[in-house]
Amino acid sequence: MHLTDDERRIAEGSEGSAKAMAMRLVAETGRLLGAPRLLNVASAHVDGCLYHGDSGTHFAERLAKDGGRVAVPTTLNVGALDLLHPDRVKGNAHHREMAGRMMQAYERLGCRPTWTCAPYQAGHRPAAGTDVAWGESNAVAFCNSVLGARTNRYGDFLDIACALVGRAPDYGLHRPENRRATVVVDASALSPALRDADVFYPVLGTWLGAEIGSEIAAIDGLPPRQSEDRLKALGAAAASAGAVGLFHVVGSTPEAPTLAAATQSGSTRTIRLTPEMIRAARDRLSTATDGAVDCIALGSPHFSEAEIAELRRLAAGRRFRMPVYVCTRRDLVERSNLSDLEAAGAVIVADTCVVVTPILPDTGGTLMTNSGKFAHYGPANLGYDVVYGSLADCVATAVEGRLTRAEALWR
């Protein structure tokens, strides 16, 4: 691991102790990963601002007290509080105080208070080929796969460390030769109706994460020019079920205009998806398939304008018989009028989400979601059973007051 004289001086404290600690963390991680050097990054997205315990607050406050200031434009992922609706989060006083102090410390470091896991839909969109340092597994997958910018999966603490020094280890997905697909996933045997349904994409992501892990796949045989929200849902599910940091979708993502481009014409193995494989992945997303549903959770990653519009279309003129939690970005809440959804029974959550902080009643029960990521983390984080379904299934269930899922697509 070669550090420049400048980098070495910073690690020794020439630009203050916050930057010194940050440089040591970046350099030490680079050494662990076998990176030959550091490279410059153009932006950062920090996931470390979510409260998991007091240690993370102490770390951020230490950096802020020591005069830390980000060196590149930096957005913030969700925190553990909904600052727009302060009563939403039920945590005890200590939780709320420490989570709030942590969020303030990251703001003092110069990060933009975006508080979203979908920064790429809040204007943070690095150009293809740009090196960046992003945290939050779904944001990493989107940044690499859909934007074509280059980042590794920067864990909590390394994300802010890279932002403070404007550097990251030169390894992994920063290198073009490491971005080629080595596995071809052929979806062409699946029914056209399934391949063109939103509900398929988190299921495909779940299969991808579980079966492919950190290998890089090129998914072939899907209709071209898939929407950003489908690719977002695919990536979020894949990055929850496995260590997926980059995937290619032939005809939809920037490094895969053709299959040959995605594989860089190198050797690959091919997996042909069957309806049985997809049904098994769908089944894995649910821990309950009958009985009462207590609430609906939407928006992991945070709902976009288009997803809100679709919810509005499905819910028009209807009333929900159970809480429908809609997690979304604060900038979207601030500039749109969501009162019709609230009147129907939706509970709008900004700055955070229902799976990372206590918002749901702690009674347990069954939650329904159209998010592969919520389905994946719900049981462990919330103690709720989970049923996975389409957005239309979720709305129908909320309106009918009982579990309603369309099964035809999956037969």
């Binding site: 991680t29 990493v140 864990g155 892990g213 821990t287 049981p379």
Partner: protein
């Protein structure tokens, strides 16, 4: 007695009985930072406690917040006594690196060659120091 050699990711020492985690695990969403219990009900080791164990982990996955969970375990004094990985995982290592920077202590973390990893059987007592793992 068996002596194995790994690659030091984080220098430190520790001893305890081995807890083997063969199925991929995410510390965030998979380990409760308040109790150190494996909290994912879908994980085969659900309910096992990491505190004081030499935890042998075959594969890590998922969340980039796993480093925060490990830091919290170290800060709260309920961390494993050492972690032995089959593959280098920078996200988990970061939790231990930050603990060292913050003065919370050193958690030994080693990467083990796969033949050595296979010898890390559940319940066997292990002493970890530097790159060496001694099995009783």
């Amino acid at each position: 007695m068996t002596e194995l050699t790994g690659e030091t990711l984080i220098a430190g020492k520790g001893a305890g009985t081995i807890l083997r985690v063969d199925d991929a695990i995410s510390f965030w969403g998979g380990v409760d930072p308040k109790t150190a219990l494996i909290s994912d009900p879908r994980h085969p080791r659900h309910g096992a406690c990491l505190t004081g164990r030499v935890v042998a982990i075959a594969e890590l996955r998922g969340s980039s917040s796993s480093s925060a969970v490990l830091l919290e375990l170290i800060h709260a004094g309920i961390a494993p006594s050492a972690i032995l990985l089959r593959d280098t995982d920078a996200i988990l290592a970061l939790g231990a690196l930050v603990a060292r920077e913050m003065g919370y202590g050193d958690l030994a973390m080693l990467k083990m060659p796969s033949d050595a990893f296979a010898l890390l059987t559940e319940g066997r007592r292990a002493h970890v120091e530097g790159p060496r793992v001694v099995l009783d």
